[in-house]
Amino acid sequence: MEPYIVFRDVYKRYQMGEVTIVAADAVNFEIEKGEFAVISGASGAGKTTVLNMLGGIDNCDEGDIIVDDKRVSALAESQMIQYRRMDIGFVFQFYNLIPNLTAGENVELASQICESDLGAADVLSSVGLRERVDNFPSQLSGGEQQRVAIARALAKKPKLLLCDEPTGALDYATGKKILGLLQQTCKRQNMTVVLITHNTAIAPMANRVIRMRNGSVVSADINPSPVSAERLEW
């Protein structure tokens, strides 16, 4: 059986004037279902490119991206939208909540577009924000906003939860709490979580750690004993 997520010789090149930047240079890795995978690397290592391609936000120029036996790399635009809509939950570094919508409404924004939606209030309470349903993002702290973002991603019951530096804009403690929430979600819901970070300190909590440098995968290790998020230190 094929692994749940497969990247096989994936290339992504950007043309910047006369210079061609190879953002993804023969990326190869696999992630199994239910794993908590961390892709780490320095800035410009190509991890965001990989995440974008995995999340259907960007196309690859070459190679295969397979998610749950679906060749994402070969999807047409409308199929790609459908893929994002049904299969992907995205958590942004800057939360990207709609400022003009309450926490509950932000969750609803996602849940209303997919079939198997969960109640916004339920999802929010699952991330511990039952009381903040009617608050606007500006009334929430960064951690709370990120929780709302996670709730928004989870509301769609995605196959994959993709997180782009979810702790990047958060302080240490809050970041750890968010990581804990993600780990918990992964375990409880058997959700496949892919998290990118430049912070190598997060790696120990992952089932699988993929390290990247200059657009290529340097190593892909399976961590047989991931530590819990609370015990991370950085």
Binding site: T48, N52, G55, I57, D58, S78, I81, Q82, Y83, R84, R85, M86, I88, F90, F92, Q93, F94, N96, I98, P99, N100, L101, T102, E105, E108, L109, A110, Q112, I113, C114, F136, P137, S138, Q139, R152, K156, D164
Partner: protein, 1203 residues
């Protein structure tokens, strides 16, 4: 260097954010361009007109005087300060004869030479100038239906109003050899005239020598003017009135001189007259002498006639006496005759008595004869009776004889029967004997013992036969006996009968004898009577002869009397004849006398005539003197009264049609131009503000960096101010360049149906141009500065951090929980977003409402303008044909003509009316050309003109208590029902109450009932027009018109309402051009606003859009996430725009409305619908354009850090 770097930075910034730059540029382009473009229209219009007038040296003043002018007057005016040029000229209105009716032409003199220095220079458009007598030039531009071409022959009527044409111009027929343009008429109308139907259709120019006038009819004057001074300047008006006043003063002096000249001539005339008078006096004296002589002769003749009359009287008396005598003679003869007649009558009576006696005798005789004849008849009857009795007797005798015969026969029969009986007895006896013999034989035989049986039987048979024979004989005897008995009985009967007959016979014999005796007696009597009668007869005959004699005598007497009578009759005839002839003779005598008298009278008449002549001559002489005196008196009066000795000066405004109208049109366009900034400048500044603040928001970090690097606030904000100023300047300059060239041409072009203007000269309104640029710059730069300033207040460190996104807020709508819950999720988002950016909402709604309002106003104007022609000529004026009469008809004449019109199947009704043009006193300004309309019958005016209330269309009644005025007039006057309306006609002022206001669109009318007319003007109403409705048979209007014009000389012209309607229609529709400009402007406004704001919206929310794309929103969903807001704003804008548009349309209609026209004030619902659809179309178009931009937003944006 620093500055250079900054300029470079700004330049790059512009290139980088082209869309932003262009949006500011466009809105400035539109607002400044439209405003300045429309503002340039009025000055361009004025300048074009003015340059044209200047080039043609259009006069500034025209002077008119009741007595005309001479060269001295012209010189005097020329000598005045401020007067540059004076050109005397002639003009007159004449009637042109045409097939379809008569029209009025204004005929003016061509300036001599036509070279430099003359005024009102004409321009030859085609053909040539007149070179020979009988040639003329005509104005090339005319109202429709009065086109003139080179080669046309203009024929003038013999008379023009009260004047004869040959007192005005030398000929009556002129050939058009050229077409011209004159600056005096630059509209398509030549105004009105006091003659004909009042509308001048042609403008004809003739060489001045063709005019028969000895004095000029007008002076054209040009003023000294500073170069470049405008005739539309108020100072020009002041110059005009100052010069006019001076000219008025000169006029007084010149008038005096004129009068002096007249007086001198009058003095000469008087001298001449005096001379003539002396000779006339002499002649009169001679005539007087002659008259006296003839008076004497007349007296003599009169005496003779008197003698004649005396004789006549005498002979009358004589004749009378003679007649009387004859009368007496006749009477005597008559009396004699009467005596004879009486005698005759007595004789006659005697004769009559005799006759009567004779007649009596005759009657007696006749009765005797009758008795005699009766007796004779009786005798004859009796004789016949006797005859009859004889016959009876004879008959009885016959009967008797017959009976005797019968008796004889019967007795014979008895005898026979006795004989037979006797015979029978013999037989019996024989038979008995035979029997006895037989028996005896038998016995014999028996006894004989004869026993032979046969012998016995035979014997027995013999006995038997004998017995039988004996028995038969016995029977026959019995029978005979019986027969005898019978015969005897018969005989007895006959015997009785015979006896009876015998008795009868005897009786008859007796009777007969008696009758014989009587008869004989009667015969004797008859004979006596006859004798007696015959004696009577003889006596009668004798008497008769006697009477006949008497009769003859009587006859003779009568004959004699008749002769006498005829004699008398002859006498009487003679008398009668005499009696008749006597008067004839007398009459003859009388006639002779009368003839003499007539002669006398003739003589008298002659004398009288001579006398009258004498008197007339005397009176004439007298009146000539008094004429002269009154003329002198008039002149003296004029001297004393300044008023009547005035010259009248008219300015261009007064005298050139549409001159004032052009200025007013220009003002109207200016007023419309003022509307544009209301929306455009407001929206433009809002657009700039949001655009710039957005830009500065985006470049927050950069600003912070500059600030951190040590740039001053001014330097930092300078960049953005330069940026915005550059956009604004570029847009403004481009807009002005294009719109100033384009808009005046389009708008003035629309007026080309009203004014005949040369090519448009664009005047750039520099001050407006600069001002609008400045305003636009101020708006944009201020917006830039303000946005910058707001940011720069914050500390540098804060600037370096990303700006905290504006927090979401609960909106007021959420308080209505029910409503909020009922809204869908996307509706909630839209509502929140709309209210989140209030400025943008306001701006978009304003921009869209501006667009909507402009479209509504444009369509509303269309609604207001286009139906009026149909309403006026279809609903209000129901007549289709208008007759103009050459003179006013009385009611009787109108009725007669009306009956003839009614008989024409091509018409279906007619109404005579009186139309009078009056001036109404408006608020400080006279309203000219108001028509007082008086129908033949006030109650039936609605057949031809629908008088109805403008509010609800209910019909109005034209009563005698007041006038009905049309609504536009009421509006101009500010008058309503119950107010008074004052107007002047023929120099008199009248004030009447207004009874009601009537709906009307074209021209002003005052409707007045005939009774009120008569009460007001104190004269019977006479009719000068006929309004007619066309009937079924009206197929060929020209034929109809020609028919009636030839039929009736009182018809001056016949016009078809449809042609008037058509030309008015075309004129009024020129406004549609303005509407078109407005639609374009509206579209541009909507486009720019919606495009710009959507652009800002999208760029501000790029992150949001990218995020929802990442979330998996489809294209449509993503688009709607933004555009739904636009649609809501669009809807709001349309709603607001409908309200604003309604007011705007009203304002514009009021502004654009021409003097004599009223537009429809209501905007059709469909116009709102179309406007809304058009606005929606603009919004949707912009949104469709923006979808590309939406698609272009990369999802990667969502991952970027907040700047």
């Amino acid at each position: 260097m620093r500055l250079k770097a900054q300029i470079k930075d700004t330049y790059r910034e512009i290139l980088r954010s082209r869309e932003r730059f262009i949006s500011i540029l466009l809105i400035t382009f539109l607002s400044v361009g439209f405003f300045v473009g429309v503002k340039a229209t009025a000055p361009s219009m004025r300048t074009t007109a003015e340059n044209y007038f200047n080039a043609a040296s259009l006069m500034d003043l025209e002077i008119i005087s009741t007595v005309g002018f001479d060269d001295g007057d012209a010189e005097a005016v020329r000598a005045l300060e401020g007067v540059a040029e004076v050109m005397p000229s002639y003009s007159a209105d004449l009637i042109v004869l045409e097939d379809a009716g008569n029209s009025v032409a204004r005929v003016a003199a061509l300036p001599d030479g036509g070279g430099e220095g003359t005024l009102n220079r004409i321009k030859l458009v085609s053909g040539r100038m007149p070179e020979k007598p009988g040639e003329c030039v005509a104005a090339a531009y005319n109202m429709r239906g009065a086109d003139v071409a080179v080669g046309d022959v203009i024929r003038f009527s013999e008379t023009a109003g009260s004047a004869a044409t040959d007192t005005i111009i030398s000929g009556t027929s002129y050939t058009v050899v050229g077409l011209i343009e004159t600056p005096q008429y630059f509209s398509y109308s030549y105004g009105t005239s006091s003659i004909g139907n009042g509308t001048i259709l042609y403008y004809i120019m003739l060489p001045a020598c063709e005019f028969m006038y000895t004095r000029y009819t007008e002076l054209y004057i040009a003023l000294d003017r500073a170069p470049g001074a405008s005739a539309f300047d108020p100072r020009y008006g002041a110059d005009i009135s100052r010069t006019a006043a001076r000219i008025g003063d000169v006029g007084l002096v010149r008038y005096d001189l004129f009068l002096n000249g007249i007086q001198a001539r009058l003095n000469d005339a008087q001298d001449e007259f005096n001379e003539q008078k002396t000779s006339a006096d002499r002649q009169l004296a001679d005539a007087k002498l002659r008259l006296e002589e003839s008076a004497r002769e007349l007296a003599q003749a009169r005496e003779e006639i008197a003698a004649g009359w005396e004789e006549y009287d005498r002979s009358v008396l004589e004749t009378e006496a003679g007649l009387k005598k004859a009368e007496a003679d006749l009477a005597a003869a008559k009396a004699e005759l009467a005596g004879g007649e009486a005698q005759l009558a007595a004789a006659q009576a005697q004769y009559d008595a005799g006759t009567a006696q004779l007649m009596e005798a005759r009657a007696g005789l006749d009765s005797g004869w009758r008795q005699y004849y009766a007796g004779e008849a009786e005798y004859q009857r009796k004789e016949r009776e006797y005859g009859e009795g004889l016959a009876q007797y004879r008959e009885a005798r016959e009967e008797y004889d017959q009976a005797k015969n019968a008796y004889d026969v019967a007795s014979e029969a008895v005898a026979l029967a006795e004989q037979a009986l006797d015979g029978g007895e013999i037989d019996q006896a024989e038979a008995e004997s035979l029997y006895e013999q037989a028996l005896a034989a038998l016995e014999a035989y028996e006894n004989s013992g004869g026993a032979d049986p046969e012998m016995l039987d035979q014997l027995r048979a013999q006995v038997q036969a004998a017995a039988e024979r004996m028995l038969n004989a016995e029977d026959r005897e019995a029978q005979a006996r019986e027969e005898l008995e019978n015969a005897k009985a018969q005989l007895a009967v006959y015997d009785a009968q015979l006896k009876e007959a015998e008795a009868e016979l005897n009786a008859a014999e007796q009777q007969l004898a008696q009758a014989r005796i009587q008869l004989d007696e009667a015969a004797a009597q008859l004979g006596d009577a006859r004798e007696e009668l015959e004696g009577g007869e003889e006596e009668y005959a004798a008497n008769r002869a006697q009477l006949d004699d008497a009769r003859a005598q009587l006859q003779a007497n009568r004959t004699k009397l008749d002769a006498a009578k005829s004699d008398l009759a002859a006498g009487e005839r003679e008398y009668a004849q005499q009696k008749l002839s006597a008067p004839a003779r007398l009459a003859e005598a009388k006639t002779e006398l009368e003839a003499a008298e007539e002669q006398l009278a003739a003589g008298q008449d002659e004398y009288d005539a001579g006398y009258a002549d004498y008197l007339g001559a005397a009176a004439e002489a007298q009146s000539s003197i008094s004429d002269g005196r009154s003329r002198i008196q008039n002149i003296r009066d004029m001297f004393s009264s300044v008023e009547s000795g005035k010259w009248y000066a008219f300015s261009r405004d007064d005298i050139i049609l549409s001159y004032a109208g052009l200025d007013q049109d220009a003002q109207r366009i200016d007023a419309i131009a003022a509307i544009f900034p209301v929306f455009f400048v407001l929206v433009a500044s809002l657009v700039c503000l949001t655009t710039m603040s957005r830009m500065i928001d985006e470049q927050r970090v950069q600003i912070g960096t500059y600030k951190a690097l040590g740039y001053s606030s001014a330097q930092i904000s300078g960049k953005y101010m330069v940026y915005s100023a550059a956009a604004c300047m570029t847009g403004g300059v481009l807009g002005q360049l294009i719109c100033i060239q384009l808009l005046p041409r389009v708008i003035i072009g629309a007026y080309s149906t009203l004014y005949r203007l040369p090519d448009i000269e664009i005047v750039i309104p520099w001050s407006m141009s600069a001002l609008s640029m400045l305003a636009a710059l101020l708006c944009t730069v201020m917006a830039a500065w303000y946005s910058c300033h707001r940011e720069l207040k914050v500390t540098t460190a804060a600037l370096m951090r990303p700006k905290m996104p504006r927090g979401g807020k609960r909106i007021f709508m959420e308080r209505w929980t029910k409503l909020w819950r009922a809204m869908s999720f996307s509706q909630k988002i839209t509502a929140r977003n709309l209210l989140r950016y209030k400025l943008r909402l306001l701006m978009t709604v304003l921009g869209i409402s501006g667009c909507m309002a402009l479209i509504v106003a444009g369509l509303g104007m269309h609604d207001g303008v286009n139906p009026i022609v149909d309403k006026q000529y279809g609903e209000i004026n129901r007549y289709k044909i208008m007759f103009t009469l050459s003179r006013d008809l009385t009611r009787g004449e109108a009725d007669a003509l009306g009956r003839r019109l009614a008989a024409d199947g091509r018409l279906s009704g007619e109404m005579f009316s009186k139309i009078r043009s009056v001036d109404v006193d408006g608020n400080g300004e006279d309203i000219h050309n108001v028509f007082v309309f008086t129908p033949q019958d006030a109650a039936r005016i609605d057949r031809m003109i629908s008088l109805r209330s403008p509010e609800d269309g209910s019909p109005l009644r034209l009563g005698d208590e007041g006038v009905i005025i049309t609504d536009k007039l009421a509006q101009v006057l500010g008058a309503g029902a119950g107010d008074m309306v004052a107007f002047s006609a023929d120099g008199e002022r009248y004030t009447l109450p207004v009874a009601a206001i009537a709906e009307n669109y074209i021209y002003h009318y005052i409707y007045m009932s005939p009774a009120l007319y008569e009460e007001t003007f104190g004269a019977q109403v006479k009719f000068n027009t006929i309004a007619c409705a066309a009937g079924e048979g009206m197929t060929d209007f020209d034929g109809f018109a020609a028919d009636w014009l030839s039929k009736d000389s009182s018809i001056l012209s016949i016009s078809n309402v449809d042609s008037a309607r058509k030309s008015f229609d075309e004129t009024i529709r020129s406004i549609n051009i303005i509407i078109f400009v407005m639609l374009i402007a509206a579209g541009a406004l909507a486009f720019v606003v919606v495009y710009n704001l959507t652009n800002i919206n999208i760029s501000e929310r790029t992150r949001e859009i990218a995020t929802i794309k990442v979330l998996g929103f489809r294209h449509g969903e993503t688009n709607m996430y933004i555009f739904r807001e636009n649609f809501v704003m669009g809807a709001l804008g349309i709603l607001l725009g409908s309200v604003i548009g309604c007011f705007l349309a009203r304002f514009m209609l009021k502004t654009v409305e021409v003097d004599m026209v009223r537009f429809v004030r209501s905007i059709a619902a469909s116009s709102y619908v179309y406007a809304a659809l058009l606005t929606a179309f603009y919004i949707v178009s912009v949104n469709l354009l923006m979808t590309r931009r939406m698609r272009g937003i990369s999802m990667v944006e969502s991952l970027k850090a907040i700047e």
